[in-house]
């Protein structure tokens, strides 16, 4: 554990963004008003698959206040299809359905009117003529050759089917003492922010600039909009200073921005699209992974897990979206925190007639961790070995780092055993076990859930070239600019939107730490995309590493310049000087203050070293650590830094009512050096809440006729304050060798392990009854029915 005591880093410090939010002065997209704004509402078709034979918009167009009605056919003639990361050119996607409806709720027309209400009125007047087509909803069925293809031109429903074999899997299985197989299902759920997606697009025909303001979390947003609309990159200006009301991965907003961008250029008015909740749930960037895992593990009698085979079949929905890549990222932690020697992994992504799956917090890691942890629990049960002991036996040891896993990633640092020990101590594990026994004796079902999981952080996109050889992207960068102005105040610029992660606080803390000045004196701004250096958005739990890294490096450059100027003035060798709190000190006691440096740099060039540029500004564009290489032999270094979390949870429920209540929750969390403790703890608790939802409550459920049953918050149930308990957070720090301060990411913490832990607890509770719950969410009804059936068959 690092002894280094930082002045500002890791110290309790208020999050600067909070001030504007608690008074209701956030700047969300729906708050943006523009005179002359036109409003969009979408018309959805509710058939899961159908040809669009005719669209009669005449009655809608005739209504007062209606400006235009646009169909997919019009869009397809004017713009290119949206970018598709895989090599599947015949899976084409536009913001509106073109020729064919591919899922119930898909947007078919956009109505533009003087108000949102009038646009909705007009949408009802549009007459759609369709012919129903056969449809497929289940991913195993979509794999069959005779399943109706969602994209007939693509000729099958398979977007991706790639088999990886890392290490001598067959050999290891043959040599192992035992093997077992099972399947689990991660139901379709997502992180569902309370603010829906929204965008306002304005076309300035005089300056030839398309202004985009959006509630968005999307790398290369301006690039993708420009490409789709056939504009030059410098004709699109994305405004990063819009506050985003939660995203957790999902707000990609490409189809919305392309649609409104097109409309803005056609209608020469600012165009506003704020999804209502129905549009969002049915057809927005709302859905997440829906994955079936078939797993086999080979293990020895002493509990050593030798090898694993995993088949991951993912239901992408009607278009490619980001779904296939959410099968690729977990390759970077495919063995979890365990010393498993070989792995076979088959990643299959299929299209079905459901809404499109978008990127969700963790990008596929949470479902994969759920599968791996279930496997470990199953091995323990088979061997009748304690689940903790089995994990401790298989966990990578502290002295084994850096640790190379079979799929080519090296884990940077960690001390999993110590985190577990700390959690067991903090949770008073023997007492927890005793409480569990007490609850069981009182007639309840009770179980202790355990999950040990990794959070790969520092997101690059190495999974893209791994899954698509034609994609050669190896650059994944982030940047920061700093200027010390003529009055000596510091302004930093970051080139991204934020959705509650506290990036302004992160950056001012880092810069304050390096320059040894009060972070609250540093102002952090977000210029728009035309004024920005390259960045890739807060995805893949990357910003502590990347934004923190770029800010630190830019600050170091400034500090170096300050010392060089001081050295020149003090006529000393820079190496003999000491920088402290903004002032530079010579060995003989003379000093040169911050203000002195500013004066020289801004006003007295005759006092600067020869050849030095005036001013005090710097920037840094940083590449992701350990990134930069293409895959080789199906292996690649995925993300650079690995955070670790260990969950210990006590769950109990009445066997008839079947409603799981969480009686105790402890999480051990190691994300290296913490930049702001309250931000990290908040992320972790929030991640656990998302995990509780995924484990027990949330699902985008379709019925057999392809209708989405959970279109609103009446049926898509999210945890309230009653469903998330108080959580005991135990901290540990194994710094990363790859980052300036040893920081790792924590944007996905809690979510990556909570579903596994809760499933583990419920299964532990019923372990005496030969019941296995293998599908998330685990609903009360399913628990109660399973217990009742087991009791009946016992008689």
């Amino acid at each position: 554990m690092s002894d280094k005591k930082y002045k500002f880093l890791s110290q309790p410090r208020r999050v600067v963004e909070d001030r504007r939010f608690v008074v209701g002065k956030g700047r969300y997209i729906a708050d943006y008003d523009h005179a002359d704004m036109a409003h969009v509402a979408l018309l959805a078709c509710h058939l899961p698959a159908a040809t669009i034979d005719d669209i009669d918009t005449s009655a809608a167009l005739a209504m007062p206040g209606v400006i235009d009605v646009v169909t997919g056919a019009e869009l397809a003639a004017a713009i290119g299809p949206l970018m598709n990361g895989l090599d599947t050119p015949n899976v084409r996607r536009y913001p509106l359905a073109v020729g064919q409806v591919r899922y119930a709720g898909e947007w078919v027309c956009a109505v533009i009117a003087e108000s949102r209400a009038v646009a909705e009125d007009a949408a009802e007047k549009i007459r759609l003529q369709t012919t129903a087509l056969p449809f497929v909803l289940d991913s195993e069925q979509a794999l069959q050759e005779d399943s109706p293809p969602v994209h007939p031109d693509h000729q099958s429903n398979v977007l991706l089917d790639k088999q990886f074999v890392w290490g001598p899997v067959d050999d290891d299985f043959a040599k192992a003492d035992h093997q077992l197989s099972f399947s689990v299902i991660w139901g379709r759920n997502s992180t569902v922010p309370i603010e829906t997606f929204g965008v306002v697009a304005e076309w300035n025909v005089w300056e030839q600039i398309l202004d985009i303001r959006a509630s968005v979390q999307m790398p290369k947003y301006a690039d993708q909009i420009a490409r789709a609309l056939g504009l030059a990159g410098n004709q699109v200006r994305v405004h990063y200073d819009i506050d985003v009301g939660g995203s957790y991965g999902v707000k990609r907003g490409i189809k919305h921005a392309v649609l409104t961008g097109y409309l803005a250029r056609k209608l020469h008015r600012p165009v506003r699209l704020i999804e209502d909740r129905l549009e969002n749930m049915r057809a927005g960037d709302a859905h997440g992974p829906e994955r079936k895992f078939d797993i086999s593990v080979a293990f020895d009698q002493d509990g050593t897990v030798r090898s694993m085979k995993m088949r991951a079949l993912d239901n992408a929905g009607a278009y490619a979206g980001r779904a296939p890549f959410q099968l690729g990222k977990p390759i970077g932690a495919i063995v979890g925190p365990y010393r498993i020697g070989s792995v076979a992994y088959q990643a299959i992504s299929v299209t079905t007639n459901k809404a499109v799956q978008e990127a969700v917090r963790g990008f596929g890691q949470a479902p994969t961790n759920y599968a791996i942890e279930t496997a470990i629990d199953r091995v323990a049960a088979y061997l009748q070995m304690d689940r903790l002991a089995l994990r401790q036996h298989n966990l990578i040891r502290a002295d084994e780092f850096p640790y190379l896993i079979p799929s080519g990633s090296t884990y940077d640092s960690g001390d999993y055993h110590q985190v577990i020990d700390k959690v067991l101590a903090a949770a008073e594990y023997p007492k927890l076990v005793a409480r569990c026994a007490e609850l069981r004796n009182s007639g309840m079902m009770a179980g202790i859930g355990i999950a040990a999981c990794l959070e790969p952080s520092g997101g690059n996109s190495s999974f893209e070239p791994l899954l698509n050889e034609n994609n050669q992207t190896t650059t994944w960068m982030e940047s920061c600019q700093i200027n010390i102005d003529a009055l000596g105040t510091v302004i930093a610029r970051i080139h991204t939107t934020s959705s509650g992660q506290g990036h302004e606080t992160l950056v001012s803390t880092v810069i304050g730490e390096v320059l040894e000045i009060e972070p609250d004196s540093i102002r952090v701004t977000r210029p728009n995309s035309l004024e920005s250096l390259p960045g890739n958005s807060p995805v893949g739990s990357r910003m502590a590493i990347m934004l923190g890294g770029a800010a630190a490096r830019a600050a170091e450059k400034l500090k170096h310049k300050i010392i060089t100027i001081a050295a020149h003035h003090l006529q000393c060798d820079a190496a003999t000087l000491r920088y402290q709190g903004g002032t530079t000190y010579a060995a003989d006691g003379r000093s040169f203050s911050w203000d002195d440096v500013v004066e020289l740099a801004h006003r007295q060039i005759h006092g600067l070293p020869d050849g030095m540029d005036p001013g005090l500004a710097s920037f840094d564009i940083m590449q992701v650590p350990t990134g930069g290489a293409l895959p080789k032999d199906d292996k690649v270094q995925m993300y650079p830094c690995y955070s670790f979390e260990f969950h210990l949870v006590l769950v109990a429920f009445d066997p008839v009512i079947g409603k799981p209540e969480i009686h105790a929750y402890t999480i051990g969390h190691d994300c290296g050096t913490v930049i702001n403790p309250a931000i990290v703890s908040g992320m972790t608790y929030g991640g656990i809440a998302h995990g509780i939802g995924a484990a027990l409550l949330e699902e985008f459920a379709y019925d057999e006729s392809g209708q989405l049953m959970t279109q609103s918050f009446l049926d898509y149930l999210m945890p309230s304050s009653h469903e998330v308990p108080d959580i005991q957070l135990v901290k540990h720090c194994t710094p990363s060798p790859h980052t300036v301060f040893g920081q790792k990411g924590s944007g996905e913490s809690g979510y990556l392990g909570a579903p596994a832990a809760i499933s583990s607890a419920i299964n532990h509770a019923v372990s005496g009854m030969d019941i296995h719950f293998t599908s998330l969410p685990i609903r009360m009804s399913v628990i109660s029915d399973a217990i009742a059936n087991a009791n009946r068959s016992d008689k």
């Binding site: 009125d121 009512i657 079947g658 945890p719 469903e723 109660s784």
Partner: protein, 294 residues
Amino acid sequence: MKAAPFDYIRPDTLDDACACLASHPEARIIAGGQSLVPMLAMRLARPSLVIDIAHIDGLSAIRDDGDALVIGTMVRQAAALSDPLIATHLPLLAKALTHVGHPPTRSRGTVGGSLVHADPSAEIPLVAVALGASLRMRDSDGDIDFDAADFFIGPMLTLIPPTACLYEISFPKPKAAYVGTGFHEIAARRSDYALAAAGAHIEADAHGRVQDIRLAIGGVSDFPQRLPIDLPTDLVTDLATSKTSLAAAIDTALDTVDFVEDMHASASYRRRVVAELAGRAIGDALNEITADLA
């Protein structure tokens, strides 16, 4: 999710409200709006006119009529929850109200509104059915009364004539010496609409003999309903210890119920759980009486 257009009117009297209903066949009454407004937003309800009865005098009162407690249709759920008359004379309603929605919806939602909306999982209709409340409504021809037991005929479906306005609900007050009640519900999250709910109201005489037992269940079928059960004995103290025969009686009674199956719960779950909740509700009621007898 903007509602389809409608007109709005605030009549001063109940008769004015009825006159509006009579002349506008597509009109809807708005009371608290907690059930109606979401339906308007989703365009599932498309009235031409919304009639706001919140400001009509006399609809927000709770009065003791001797044999009955009469609750005005506009009495807010929050007001009912803290009302001493209801706490004293209708303890089952008081218990049920703690499960209705959340504090912000209880400040607006009304007792009458919940009854007319008739969600199969709603607590107030269940209590009205259990206690045999009388729903008094008026249309332009005069007053009409409905027995709660007959009023609910399907999910969101009642016998209310399209041009009638509910104005008060009469709940019979307990007659016997001792009263015990119990209310239990189960939902996926606390305060969600119930997947199963049971309310029990038992009256016993001074000797501890059951004079009246009223058990109703909700959330499990298309509407809340009374569950008539054959008690093995009428002595409260004996009943309190005969859980098994009570459970058997409940189980038999449940054979007549058509259980709903949906994505949140199976029919078998609803049956199993409502049986458990009914047992608990009766148990609570018996325990209250036993404690009073002691």
